[in-house]
Symmetry: C2
Subunit: 244 residues, 2 copies
């Protein structure tokens, strides 16, 4: 069944008001008629089954039939801090990361970052990325809509670490510390920040700096993963670990 994310304020006790691009999707793409059902999510984890009541050019009204008890979310909230990659790889990372259960994303720049996200283009990029994540969340049947935050410097990324239960930094030269040791310490409700370097990875100094701030350097297996593959490894492993 088709799934749509709305802002919590669009949901009242018994009714949902859908606006924006989703109106076009419901009316013209899916060609849904009054009486047909959809799933509506508030993006914070609450989902309901709703029946379409009426539609205009700007809004679709649907009546809430029942609240759903869905278990679609990773029990640990994982935030992907991604060194801004080249080309359209960030779009792929966001789409796949959303399918695989990421809770939030932010891009950051570090010593080996080649691509610069210019401040005047950032708003437009964030808008496009938000759309990609929303579509992926609907398609993969998420009940939480992953957040995308603005670009940080590496220093700022390290500073945000204090907000999470655990923080790791992906480092291909790390041969001892395994991801399992970190995941084993986490329990449902905990949060994990993962920093993944851009194409050239992190410098030794950056890793040392992160470690001094409480980050654990971890390796994602014995093969060298490209920057756009690392988050998918981490999220798949976390799903396998927690969602038995």
């Amino acid at each position: 069944m088709q799934r749509y994310f709305v802002e919590p304020h669009q949901i009242s006790d018994r009714e949902v008001t859908i606006t924006g691009d989703d109106v076009h999707h419901i009316v013209n793409v899916m060609r849904l008629k009054p009486g047909e059902q959809i799933i509506v999510c508030d993006g914070r984890g609450r989902s309901c089954l709703a029946r379409l009541r009426q539609s205009s050019a700007n809004a679709v009204q649907a009546q809430i039939e029942t609240w759903l008890d869905e278990q679609k979310e990773l029990p640990v909230q994982i935030t992907i801090g991604q060194g801004l990659p080249k080309g359209d790889k960030m779009e792929w990372i966001l789409q796949k990361g959303t399918e695989l259960g990421a809770f939030a994303f932010f891009p950051f720049s570090s010593e080996r970052t080649i691509v610069k996200l210019e401040p005047k283009k950032e708003a437009k990029k964030l808008e496009r990325w938000t759309k990609i994540v929303k579509e992926a969340a609907e398609q993969s049947h998420r009940s939480v809509l992953p957040q995308i935050r603005g670009q940080l410097s590496f220093k700022q990324a390290l500073e945000t670490g204090a907000q999470y239960t655990r923080c790791v930094i992906a480092y291909e030269k790390e041969e001892q510390a395994k991801l399992r040791e970190v995941l084993d310490t986490l329990v449902p409700g905990d949060s994990l920040l993962v920093l993944i370097g851009p194409e050239g990875g992190f410098t030794e100094q950056e890793v040392e700096w992160a470690e001094s701030k409480g980050f654990q350097a971890v390796t994602f297996g014995p093969r060298i993963l490209r920057t756009e593959t690392a988050s998918q490894y981490l999220l798949s492993a976390a799903s396998y670990h927690f969602e038995r």
Copy 2:
């Protein structure tokens, strides 16, 4: 260090002869000179450190210095049977699957396959795919070069199942059987075949047919993964499971 795959017959007791596109890569792209070192793999799991001796337009000679004891391969050989997807997704699946340790791939057609791989175009496609896999294997530091086999029908894909220790079919409607139960039964040296449907997935009848042939239907977590994401989930989970 740069890594190149050669055919076993190109490796003698003490010397390696590199031919084909890799000559251009060594001489013109990497601009490596006599005396510099490379890693050479026979694609079957043997790797050596070799020192460049001389190069011509068609061949590079390198002297083997030492055989390496690399542990780069998943202990269970995983073959990805992929329902042929739209666009260039197959290329992505091959590149990422190689990074994540797949042993072999084959495309297949099933009831919901939309893209047809025409016989006269298949050879050209296989050539392109082989190149993508070789580059990904070199970049991710594999010691085995994954094989790509020709397209099969769904029936043929099921018939090949007899060659593997275990066979699974990815089915999003399967709610009970978990991947872990399958991976727990495998030991190093075993082989696993995973069938992943095209965009529309498998029909109920196809899954029943596979089950009657000894395939286990498994789900890859509570979210719906796109066809190009499923193999990455499976391979990452297998890496996490086996490569502790």
